[in-house]
Amino acid sequence: MINKIKRLFILIRSNFAKNKSRLLVFLFITLICSTLISLGAELKIGFKSFIESKFVKYDSSDIIMIAHGVSDGYSSGKIGKNKLKRKLLSDDVTESVDSIEYIESVAEYEDFGAWEERAISIVDINELRALGHDRFEIVESCDDEIPEGDGIYLPAYMKYTGHNVGEDFEFTLKERGNDPKETDYSYKIAGFYEMPLFDSPAIDIVTMLIVPDEIYKEIKDDIGSDHGRYSSVFYITLKEKNTDTELLTTRFNKMFSDNGISSGSCSRDNYVMICTFYPSFTSVFFLVVAVIAALIMMIMTGFRISTEIEENLAEYGSLKGGGMKSTEIRASIILTFIIITLAAAVPGIIAGWLITPGVSDIFAFHSGQIWKPEFDLYLSLTILLLLLASVIIISVVTTIRIAVISPLSAIREGIAAHNFRRNPFPLDKTKGGLNYLLALKLYSINMKQNLLLIISCILIGLIGSVATVYGYNLAASPSDLIRCIAPGSPDMSFTMKKEGGNDSPIKRYLESLDNVHCVEFQLHRLECSDYEVYARSFDDIDNARLSLLNEGRFPKHANEVAINVIFADALRVGVGDTIELKKDKKSMEYIVTGIYQDSIVDKCIYITQRGMDRLGDFDGLRSQNNVYIDYESLGIEMYSPEMFKLSGELEDDLRSRFGDKIDISDCMASAEQEMKVEIVAFKTIAILIMAILGTLSAAIIVLIAKTVMISRRRYFGILSAGGFPSKMLRKQLALSFIPNVIIGTILGAVPGTIFGADVVARLLRYVGVAKLNMRTCWWMPVADVIFFSLICFAAAYIISSKLKKLSVYELVSE
């Protein structure tokens, strides 16, 4: 037994000694594969667990409700804070309700180096602490002592927007109204806090500053008795954690609204979904690339082993002839690859775990989370075992040849020359450069490598083209993202100020302009199957440039509606189904004629004005107006700088003429501003994926090139002896791979380009995207082919520098 183990050990050592450099490349491919799988799995599984664990860590509430204009001693609605609290408590599902007052205002402060105006809330830290729960944590504080009363705490995501502890945080609070009073403040940043439901900028809750009692009183004194700037937040804990929080928030929002109180809300489910959106989206991409890498790794394993067997067949034959069993020889090969897989997968999995925070930091701003993942042993072991199992299966199958071949046949086959029958591209008859023709000849004799390379390139071309489509359409600029997801967005919208009077003069003016038209709509809050839904009703729905329609058509008649994807998924309805809409006490049935996409959170519908009229009289409800410029007829490309210039000019024109009467919202600019971070994230993913695929394809080529250099070393020696300089030989070798790279990449890139939009749409499905208005162009697969061809040529050319060092004398005298 000991002798058997010794023999096995000698064989394994010999395997490593013979193939050091090629096994190293194989190890590298396995390393990439295991890193990607680990990274993707951590992002997908680990991040969500982290977010959910925060609710346990902080004993966080399940829902927060914001009551605007409601504070201690004052209410903008029919009931006050205490009664609201009692009503919330009286709900069967509620276990406890805590509430505090806070200051709500509009403020200007610096973010990402630019001064922006945003809604802001200011909370007294003592009030938070008085709730008696660990609702928040200071995750980073200033080492330097900051005098008490001089330091404030910002949400942790603001670390990524240009703020640091110890620095001054300046902001200007603004009153509402025609002549808003502005007050400047400057405090030291004492630290950053973490607080579920409040610490993600993606949630539509205002940015919250936690301040010491002294600062809160100071600001309160400045504001005075402007009750509109005080609001309350209610922290609601539920009895059952698996209660449907979405329906519950709809019910609570309705209760607030019935009492004349403007509200906002956020639930645990909502928070988790929004915080994990980008990491999940990214992880899917990484996992897909990892699966491709794993497939390539399996193909490489088979290739390496079968090449190993071919190159050493005579050797195996003589070992078998000498009495060694084929199980021993096979075991030595299988164990060699197990060792390599372990040597690569373990550091790869650890590397994936180490890289994860860096990758998730890209999304830290959006999710507001600073995640330091802990090593998940079970997940890592699972990944490792899966990789090992795959390698073992492939090795066992590929080494069957050793078991079945007789020693004599092995020896003979090992020293027999190849039998060639075809002489492709005969040099006396084929026109073309000598080196190119020889490259084609070399290509035609390396059939096994050809197959391997084509399959690998198909897989790489497939995912690469999806990444190209996705990167080009979503990651080039915020405008491109808007175009893809919500192409029906208006250029701007305006509402009349209270004292602004009638909107007819403005609409007449707009309609008098060439290529501009205005569509009026009213925004309603309706109920449908216990959900709160936002309805836009249009007088002239036919002329509205509406959102991207995925199915069916927009409503024409009074008994029709179109609903958005989020709503359709929630209700589980489709085109042709009937839904019941309620407003106050009245309800009516409507047929769903179409499903469109816009919001990623809200449930929305489009309805005709006559359809809305069926639910009641809405005269006196403030209308909003969307303004559209017909760029197409002007020959201006959508989302081009020219478009933005024209849109900006129109906005300036409207402000100068009617600025005192209307509030204008630049929809395009707002969308662009909000999506800046998304673009960085999307761009990073696209670049990462192409970089990974480029590295993989280079590694594959290196492995194949090394194999060809070794198996055809005599060929290269003969040509070198005859006077071929090394540059020509290197170029020949590198060129011989190009036909397969081109064919394989095209075979993968063409379907990838055609179906790329659908694939990405599926990934974005759970945020309400069912169809993407993506541009796919003929040059996309061409660009992929060129990109991968250049990488493969460069990799092959670089690695073939070893040909320079080959001793011609040794080669030809072998």
Binding site: L434, L719, F724
Partner: protein, 253 residues
């Protein structure tokens, strides 16, 4: 044979290092090769015959000394310049034949022939003429090396070596893997081309092959042990053959 020196070595030395041990194969060799001569290099096994052949032909770089061939000092050349030198001045015939198995005989020849500056038509024409000369018909030229006899393969290798009209034809035991009939045929080809002015340098350990040479250099332990001038080969010249035999006996062969 003229008195023009086409290749000259000065203190040529070649060493190999293996596992920390240095083996000195060639030791301070001074050789002159004349244009148009048929030089044979002989010696016992391990004397350094093939090493000498490849060191003077640019196939390998000497460790020390100087090699001037066709007016070029090739000892200073890097690998690519040596390749260029070989393509312009040298032709090689090997014991193992070393034809590319995946190409036809014609393609094996044209691969090296098209490296030069001549047009495809000219090279193809020259190749066909050479194939005719070595008695390989057109139908055989389209075959692969494993489809032809050893003699046909080696004769094709000779065509390949001569396609670019080299200054020197280097042959390393060209008949070592052939039977008697093919050996005779190959040697006859060398003799014929030599008579037409081709300089031939051949390494052999076979006395029948050695007879074809005008001059014999005997190597022993990396040094020239002796030299013998035989003059032009004449079939059946017994006196010449006896002189060779005596010389080899003196060398201890």
């Amino acid at each position: 044979m003229s008195e023009e020196v086409i290749l000259k070595t000065t203190n040529l030395s070649k060493s190999f290092s293996s596992g920390g041990t240095i083996q000195h194969i060639l030791k301070n060799l001074n050789i002159e090769i004349y244009k148009g001569e048929f030089l044979v290099i002989m010696g016992s096994s391990g004397a350094g015959k093939s090493t000498l052949l490849y060191s003077v032909s640019g196939m390998d770089k000497p460790s020390l000394g100087e090699v001037v061939c066709c007016g070029e000092d090739i000892t200073k050349y890097n690998m690519d310049k040596l390749a260029d030198f070989r393509s312009r001045h040298c032709g090689f015939v090997f014991q193992q034949i070393n034809l590319v198995g995946s190409m036809s005989l014609m393609d094996n020849v044209l691969t090296l022939g098209l490296l030069g500056k001549k047009s495809r038509q000219e090279i193809v024409k020259r190749a066909e003429a050479l194939f005719e000369k070595v008695d390989i018909p057109a139908i055989t030229r389209a075959k692969f090396p494993n489809q032809v006899s050893g003699g046909e393969a080696q004769r094709s290798a000779i065509v390949r070596a001569l396609i670019n009209d080299p200054d020197i034809l280097f042959a390393d035991e060209p008949t070592g893997a052939l039977n008697a009939a093919n050996t005779q045929a190959v040697l006859d080809i060398f003799t014929e081309f030599n008579r037409e002015g081709q300089t031939v340098v051949m390494v052999t350990h076979d006395i029948k092959s050695a007879r074809r040479g005008d001059r014999i250099i005997y190597l022993d332990d990396g040094k020239i042990a002796g030299e013998c001038r035989l003059g032009r080969y004449m079939s059946g010249d017994q006196a010449r053959h006896d002189r060779l035999g005596a010389f080899l006996a003196e060398m201890g062969w």
